[in-house]
């Protein structure tokens, strides 16, 4: 299976474990990702809060480059925010021919809006992907209770994402279940993590993180699983801070769903950077792999 | 078609109104003493779907300058579905008339309920004005054929 690939700005830095685990899985199951040659930032929340045309044009340049490659592939996007921005552009260009032409003008390249934009949950939900992963997994995380956290932007707004459910999606739960881990029923799957407000409005935004972690914990999860570098960073980096500031004792490591898949395919901690997490993430995985007799 | 501008010319307008909605609305306009042009004359029919295309052709042939067909709002028909047939027949009829060179403004359909007296007044006033601007209809009339028919246009 092949896709054009738009990594996004965080994949080399704060999204490093996401990147490494995706690469590991690719090498195992023969998934081929063609990185868009000279991609640029998607504009994230910043662009669309200032300038609508810019918010549509920045992703358009990337999508147009993918088209220029001539591979005729859909574009895979790991980050939920990048995914949302790029999907907005595809939808806008397809719905409104004038807008598409306008975008071509702004980016100075042809853009036909042929390719679809897919997030990694959509990609791994495909039956053939699930089958391929299952064939390569020989370790199990049997019994590990996890809360799958989807965030806002893979599901909302539903006119753009076409998500099956905006309150209780199940795609990640089903993928993660392949590893033997047990996704718990919980209620904050699509609550907002605060995104960049964790930096620019920390006082207002920190409770968002705490609410998510608290609900996961209250519903007996041992870890939170994400599918976005920023969601992961926000939860991972702030959990310890919250414990320190409020005297709470949350103890949930935060993994990307691809990390669990990679570990079960045999990836070592170093291969995918388990130690790079802010909140200690090694021991829990280790414990469950051991329990399963590894 | 050349239009003779005669300031005193008054058009002849026929309005086929269904008994249950528009005719009642027209009565209510009277009860409320609303005013509208005298050149609109109402023919009462039980339902707008009673209006046979033949009636419309005859009206134009007899020198009528505009024809209105009015009934209950879609979904409100006293006979449940009659006005849906009216709507379909109207579309066909209007296209047929247009094909024959009759301005679509001369043949209009409107949905006016029994309580919409003001809408009745406004509708007939506007239609009357529009048709006044179009001038007399000559299509389908003896005179028009005797003067050479389409060849004259």
């Amino acid at each position: 299976m092949q896709f054009s690939y738009y990594p996004g700005c965080s994949m080399d830095t704060t999204g490093i474990t996401y990147k490494l685990s995706i690469e590991y899985i690719c090498s195992k199951i023969g998934l081929v990702l063609h990185e868009i040659p000279d991609w640029n930032c998607c504009g994230a929340t910043a662009a669309h809060s200032k300038n609508k045309m810019l918010a549509l044009a920045l992703p358009a340049r990337n999508l147009a480059q993918a088209e220029e490659e001539g591979l005729d592939l859909d574009v895979a996007v790991p980050c939920a925010s990048c995914y949302s921005r790029m999907k907005h552009t595809v939808v806008a260009a397809r719905q409104d021919e004038n807008m598409r032409r306008k975008l071509e003008e702004i980016i100075g390249m042809p853009y036909k809006a042929k390719a679809d934009v897919l997030n990694f949950l959509e990609i791994f939900s495909r039956p053939e992907m699930k089958r391929a992963c299952q064939e390569k997994m020989y370790r199990t995380l049997k019994g590990m209770k996890v809360a799958c956290y989807y965030g806002c932007l893979t599901s909302r707004p539903v006119e753009v994402t076409g998500a099956s459910s905006t309150e209780n999606p199940m795609e990640m739960d089903e993928i993660v279940a392949l590893t033997g881990a047990e996704p718990v029923e919980w209620d904050f799957k699509t609550e907002c993590c605060g995104a960049s407000h964790q930096v620019d409005a920390p006082k207002a935004a920190r409770p968002l993180i705490e609410r998510i972690i608290r609900n996961a914990k209250a519903n007996k999860a041992q870890a939170i699983i994400t599918a976005c570098p920023l969601c992961n960073l926000n939860l991972d980096m702030r959990e310890g801070e919250i414990n320190k500031a409020k005297g709470t004792r949350y103890d949930l490591p935060v993994y990307q769903f691809t990390e669990l898949l990679a570990v079960c395919m045999g990836a070592g901690a170093k291969d995918i950077g388990i130690h790079k997490h802010f909140f200690p993430a090694f021991d829990l995985l280790n414990e469950y792999l051991r329990k399963a007799g590894d | 078609m050349s239009v003779k501008r005669d300031e005193n010319w008054e058009p002849q307008i026929l309005a086929f109104c269904c008994n249950w909605c528009t005719y009642t609305g027209a009565d209510l306009a009277g009860l409320n003493r609303m005013k509208y042009p005298e050149n609109v004359r109402v023919v009462r029919v039980p339902c707008s779907s009673r209006v046979n295309p033949q009636f419309i052709l005859r009206a134009f042939q007899k020198g009528c300058d505009g024809v209105l067909v009015c009934g209950c709002h879609p979904g409100d028909c006293h006979y449940a579905t009659g006005n849906y047939f009216t709507r379909r027949r109207f579309m066909l009829m209007q296209r047929l008339l247009e094909y024959n060179g009759i301005d679509p403004k001369r043949f209009q359909a409107r949905w006016i309920s029994g309580s919409e007296a003001a809408k009745f007044r406004d509708t007939v006033t506007r239609v009357s004005q529009e048709i006044k601007e179009l001038g007399p209809n000559k299509k389908f009339q003896e005179e028009w054929y005797s003067e050479g028919g389409a060849g004259n246009e």
């Binding site: 700005c9 965080s10 080399d12 830095t13 704060t14 490093i16 000279d38 991609w39 640029n40 930032c41 504009g43 994230a44 929340t45 910043a46 662009a47 669309h48 809060s49 200032k50 300038n51 609508k52 045309m53 810019l54 044009a57 920045l58 340049r61 306008k102 003008e105 702004i106 980016i107 100075g108 806002c152 932007l153 909302r156 707004p157 539903v158 905006t166 699509t190 609550e191 907002c192 605060g194 995104a195 960049s196 407000h197 930096v199 620019d200 409005a201 920390p202 006082k203 207002a204 935004a205 409770p207 968002l208 609410r211 980096m237 801070e241 950077g273 130690h275 790079k276 802010f278 | -």
Partner: protein, 192 residues
């Protein structure tokens, strides 16, 4: 403060313009409060999301433009997703924020600064540089020590480093941004 509701045509016209751009009919709202009830940021907002609509309807635009709420919205779209009338509240807030910015009324300076620096960053490098972003943000807002505790971990695990990862044709992106600005201005003029 007395809020006399008469003679607010100008403010109502502004509200109507913002609503039109967001595809919203302000009269759809019956103030049920489901938006505010589910808003993750409502705890720190001075105007509830529901109230923003009522203020706009009455032409009390000053209160809206001055509010912190329009800057605190995280654009998570939870409100519109649950709204019985499908009112695009994030769209209204976005419009109000742009208008407030144009008038220099900035309810939460940090939020505005962050987005400005973010976009400057993109203009300069084509891609966002997290180190540069965080550094400049701390310096310009005066929150010098914010998040510095996490830096050692990041350096140790090479999560961030001194090297920059830029778009090769960064100049192209910069030009794109200028053209987009022009297009945006033109779009706005078209509305008015």
């Amino acid at each position: 403060m007395d809020r006399c509701l008469n003679n607010r045509e100008n403010a109502k016209a502004l509200a109507a313009r913002i609503a039109k751009d967001a595809g919203v009919d302000l009269q759809d709202c019956y103030q049920c409060g489901k938006c505010s009830g589910g808003c993750p940021m409502a705890g720190d907002m001075d105007l509830m999301p529901r109230q923003i609509i009522q203020y706009m309807r009455l032409g009390l635009m000053g209160d809206v433009l001055r509010s912190k709420s329009i800057w605190l919205c995280a654009a998570c779209h939870t409100c519109v997703d649950r709204c019985p009338h499908d009112i695009n509240l994030p769209g209204l807030i976005e419009g109000a924020r742009m208008e407030a910015k144009r008038r220099g009324m900035i309810g939460v300076k940090e939020v505005d600064k962050f987005t400005d620096i973010f976009l400057e960053n993109v203009k300069m490098f084509g891609k966002n540089q997290e180190v540069v972003l965080e550094g400049l943000y701390n310096v310009t807002t005066g929150h010098l020590m914010q998040d510095m505790v996490n830096v050692p971990h990041m350096l140790k695990h090479k999560i961030v480093g001194p090297e920059l990862n830029t778009t090769k044709q960064a100049a192209e992106v910069k030009e794109l941004m200028l053209r987009a600005q022009a297009a945006e201005n033109e779009r706005k003029r078209g509305e008015q």
